[in-house]
Amino acid sequence: MSLLEIENLAIALPAGADRQLAVENISFGLSKGEILCIVGESGSGKSMSANAVMGLLPEGVEPAGGHIRFHGREILHLTEDERIDIRGKSISMIFQEPLSALNPLMRVGAQICEVFEAHGLLTPAERMARAVELLEEVGLPDPDKTIRAYPFQLSGGQRQRVMIAMALALEPEILIADEPTTALDVTTQAQILALIEELRRKHEMAVIFITHDFGVVADIADRVIVMQTGQIVEQGSAEDVLLRPSHPYTKSLIAAIPGMKDKPDTGQTHSQQSPVILSVKNLNKTFSTGGGLFKPARVVHAVNDMTFDLHLGETIGIVGESGSGKSTAGRCIIRLIDPDSGTVRLSDVDLTALNGHALRMARSKAQMIFQDPYSSLNPRARIGRILTEGPIAHGVPRAQALDRARELLSLVGLDPSAVDRFPHEFSGGQRQRIGIARALALDPDVIIADEAVSALDVSIQAQVLDLLADLKARLNLSMLFVTHDLRVAAQICDRIMVMRRGQVVEMGPSAQVLGQPAHDYTRSLLDAIPGRHHEAAMRQSVASY
C-alpha cells in the first residue's frame, strides 16, 4: 500500500475563474522514500493537489470530489484540529520564495521551535537544542549564531535551508516542496537539490517535488507526473517519461528546453570581422547604500572596469548570478543608470558625454527588451500608442508611425489589429513580442535584452528565442543578451561574458566558454545546471520521435 494515495481528485475554483476545476481526475500514489516530481507550466494546477493534501487550499478553492488517503486514512475532509495534527508532524511543506515564507519579525530559531511547540513536544531548552542540530544538519554555517538571526540577515539559499530545517523538525514521512529552488541562483539550486536528495536518503522521507524545470526533474525524480491545464497527461518512472515520453505535450516541453549545443560555431568568425558598433571602455559603477549621519555607507562595486567591443551583427551574452552586476552593466551602457567612469561609444557617439535632449536623440540607436512582460508595457496605453510614442518623439508623423507599428506587429508574429488593444488583453509571450516590436520601432543599431525570456514558461521561452534569432538574422541586429541562464545564452550568443560581483571573470566565443571554461566560477556555473548530465539522452529521445 502506498504511503499516500490520491484518487480521482477534483478541486473547484471559485465562480468567475477562467475554468471550473483547478484539477480533475488526479490519481497517483506515493511510496515511502520516493521523490515524485509534478511538472507543468504555470496554470497547469500542479500545486493544487499538494496543497489539498495539506489542507492549505487558497480561500474559495474547495475539493470537489475524490479521495486523498494517508496510510489508508481519508484526509481530504478532516476537521481543522485533525489537520493540525498532521501538518508539520507527518507531512510538511516548503515554498518557492523563502523570504516571504518566513515571518520577518521572528528569529529563525524561534520559528523552528514553534514546530515543536505546535505539537506540544519538548521543553523550550530542548527545542532550542534541536533547532541548532537541525540547522547543522541542513548545512547552515555557525548554527549557534544563525539561530538568533532574522530571516532578512540570511541569503536566499540559507533561508531555504531554514525552511527545510523547519520542515524536517518532526521527521515527517512526506515533504512537499513547492518550486523550492525557482527563486534561487543556479549554484544554490544545485546545493539545495543535493540537500533534499541527501535528506531523503537519510530519513527515508517521501518527497513531492513540484517544478516547471525538466532539468531539475532529470536530476532528482524517481517518478514524474506531467500536468497540463488541470489534467495529468503522463506519469511514470523518471526514465520512462524523460527518455520515452509518450504524450506530445511532454515531448514538446522536453524539446523546448534550451540546449547547450544548438549554436553553430560559425557565427563567431563572421561577426568578429564586421565593424565595431558598440565599444565599452573601463566602465565603472558603484552603489553606496544606507549612508547616514551616524552610519558608514556600504559600497558595492556593481560594475568593475568593464571593457569590450560589440561588432555589427554579433550577439554577446552577459551571464551571471543575481548580484553579479550584469543588469547594471546593461543599464549603464544605455545610460538608464549613469556610470561613474568609462566611455560607451555607440557608432561614433560617446553616450557617456551626452545629456538631456542630445542623449535622448542619440539613445534611439540603442533599445532595450525587458524582463517582465507585465511591467514593461504601460497598462493604460493602447499597443498603438506604446509602439508609436518613440518614433513620434523623434519627429516621425503619427500616421506613418502607426503604419510602421502595424508592420512591426506582423514582424513579431502578432496581428496588426493589436494596435487598438490594451496590454492586459495579451498573454505573457505576446506581450514580450510587443516589447520586442517596441524596441525595433526606432530602428536601433544595438538591442540590449535584459533577461528577456526569464519570466516565460519554457515553451514560450523557446518561441521567443526563436523569434529573436530570426529577427537577428533578418535585420542583422547587434545584441547584448543579459541572462542568468547559461543554457539560454548558449542558444543565441556568439560570445559570452561571465560576470561575478561586478567583475568580468571570463569572456570568449560561446563554444569556448561553455566547452572549455577557463575560470573556476564558469565551471561551477556549468556544473550546477540542472539535468545537464541527462540532457543529451533526453534530447536524443525527443529527436528520435
Binding site: 493540525i84 508539520g88 511543506m93 515554498f95 515564507a101 518566513l102 521572528m106 514553534e114 523547519m166 549621519l293
Partner: protein, 322 residues
C-alpha cells in the same frame, strides 16, 4: 539602535529649528498689534501707553533682530514673556502641558487599545455581523465632527444623565489629595479623552482590520499553518505582530492631528491645556504665547513620532539591525 535614535533626534532638532523660523514669519505676517489689543482692553489709551507697550514687547526692534532674539532664546528654552498674562511663556505652557499630555496620551491609548482590539476582532470574524457592526461603528466615528460629538456627549452624559462632569479638569475647591484627586481627575478625563479618542480609534480599527487581512494572505502565514500551529497562535504571533507595523506608522503620522484635535476638545470641555491656551492666545494676538505653544506642540508631535519610531524599531528587527 542608539545610532538610529540619535539620527532621529538630529532630524527632529532641524525640523524644530525650521518650525521656529516658520512660525515666527507666519505669525508676524499677521495683521493686528498686541499692544493695541492690550491698550484696548485697558479701556482707554494714549500714545505713550501704546509706545510703552510696544517697547516692552520688543515690537520696536527691527524684524531680523526680533527673529534672532527669538531663536536664540528659544534654544535656551526661554520662550519669551507674555505681557498679557504677565508671566513667562514657558511657565504658562508648563502649567498647561500636563493637562494636555494627560488628555492626548489617554485619548491616544484609548484609541490604540480599543481600535486595535476592535480591528483584530473584526478581522478575525471577517464577514460576520460582528465585523459589520464594528466596521460600521468605525465608519460612523470617522465621519462625525469631533466638536459635535463633544457637545452631544456633554449634553447627554453630563446634563441629561448627570453621570460625569461635563467640563474642567477637577472639581474646583474640593481640595482632594492623593488617590481621591486622581479619581476626580480621572472622572473629568473620561468624556474629553473618549471623544478625542473616538475618531482615532476608528482610524486605527480600520487600519488594523485591513492590515490583518492583508497579512493573513502572506506566505509566512501559510508556513505557520503548515507547521500545525493553532489559528489563535497564528493570528497573534504571526499576523498581528506584522499587522501592527503599518498601524504604528499611521499612529506616528497622526500625532499632529491628535494635538490639533485637542484644541477643539479642550475648548468644549474647558480642559486647561495648551490647546485652549493656543486658541486664547490667537484671538488675543499674544505672539509669544502663540509661538511658544506652536513650538511645544510641534515638539510634542516630534516626541510622539520618536516614540512610534522606537516602537517600530522594537517590533521590526529589519530597521534595528541594518
Amino acid at each position: 539602535m542608539i545610532r538610529f535614535i540619535l539620527a532621529r533626534l538630529v532630524k527632529a532638532v532641524v525640523i524644530l529649528l525650521a518650525i521656529l523660523i516658520f512660525n515666527f514669519l507666519l505669525i508676524h505676517a499677521a495683521p493686528g498689534d498686541p499692544a493695541a489689543v492690550m491698550a484696548g482692553e485697558a479701556g482707554a489709551t494714549d500714545e505713550k501707553f501704546i509706545a510703552d507697550l510696544r517697547a516692552r514687547f520688543g515690537l520696536d526692534q527691527p524684524f531680523g533682530v526680533q527673529l534672532w532674539l527669538y531663536v536664540k532664546s528659544t534654544v535656551q528654552l526661554d520662550l519669551g514673556f507674555s505681557y498679557r498674562q504677565n508671566m513667562p511663556v514657558i511657565d504658562l505652557i508648563w502649567d498647561r502641558l500636563p493637562a494636555t499630555l494627560l488628555l492626548t496620551l489617554t485619548a491616544f491609548v484609548i484609541a490604540l487599545v480599543l481600535g486595535v482590539t476592535a480591528g483584530v476582532l473584526a478581522a478575525s470574524k471577517q464577514g460576520t455581523w460582528w465585523d459589520s457592526i464594528i466596521s460600521s461603528m468605525a465608519l460612523l466615528f470617522y465621519a462625525t465632527p469631533l466638536f459635535w460629538v463633544a457637545l452631544m456627549a456633554s449634553l447627554l452624559f453630563s446634563v441629561v444623565l448627570g453621570w460625569l462632569p461635563g467640563y474642567g479638569y477637577e472639581t474646583i475647591g474640593a481640595n482632594y489629595t492623593g488617590f481621591e484627586r486622581a479619581l476626580d481627575i480621572g472622572k473629568h478625563l473620561i468624556l474629553p479623552a473618549t471623544t478625542l479618542g473616538l475618531f482615532f480609534m476608528a482610524v486605527y480599527m480600520r487600519m488594523t482590520r485591513a492590515s490583518m487581512l492583508e497579512m493573513s494572505r502572506l506566505d509566512f502565514v501559510k508556513t505557520a499553518r503548515a507547521k500545525g500551529l493553532k489559528n489563535r497562535v497564528i493570528q497573534r504571533r504571526h499576523v498581528l505582530r506584522n499587522a501592527l507595523l503599518p498601524v504604528i506608522t499611521l499612529a506616528g503620522l497622526q500625532a499632529g492631528q491628535i494635538v490639533g484635535g485637542a484644541v477643539l476638545t479642550e475648548t468644549v470641555f474647558a480642559w486647561p491645556g495648551i490647546g485652549r491656551l493656543l486658541f486664547e492666545a490667537i484671538s488675543q494676538r499674544d505672539y509669544s504665547v502663540m509661538l511658544g505653544v506652536f513650538f511645544v506642540s510641534a515638539a510634542m508631535v516630534l516626541l510622539f513620532n520618536l516614540i512610534t519610531d522606537v516602537l517600530y524599531v522594537l517590533v521590526d528587527p529589519r530597521i534595528r539591525l541594518t
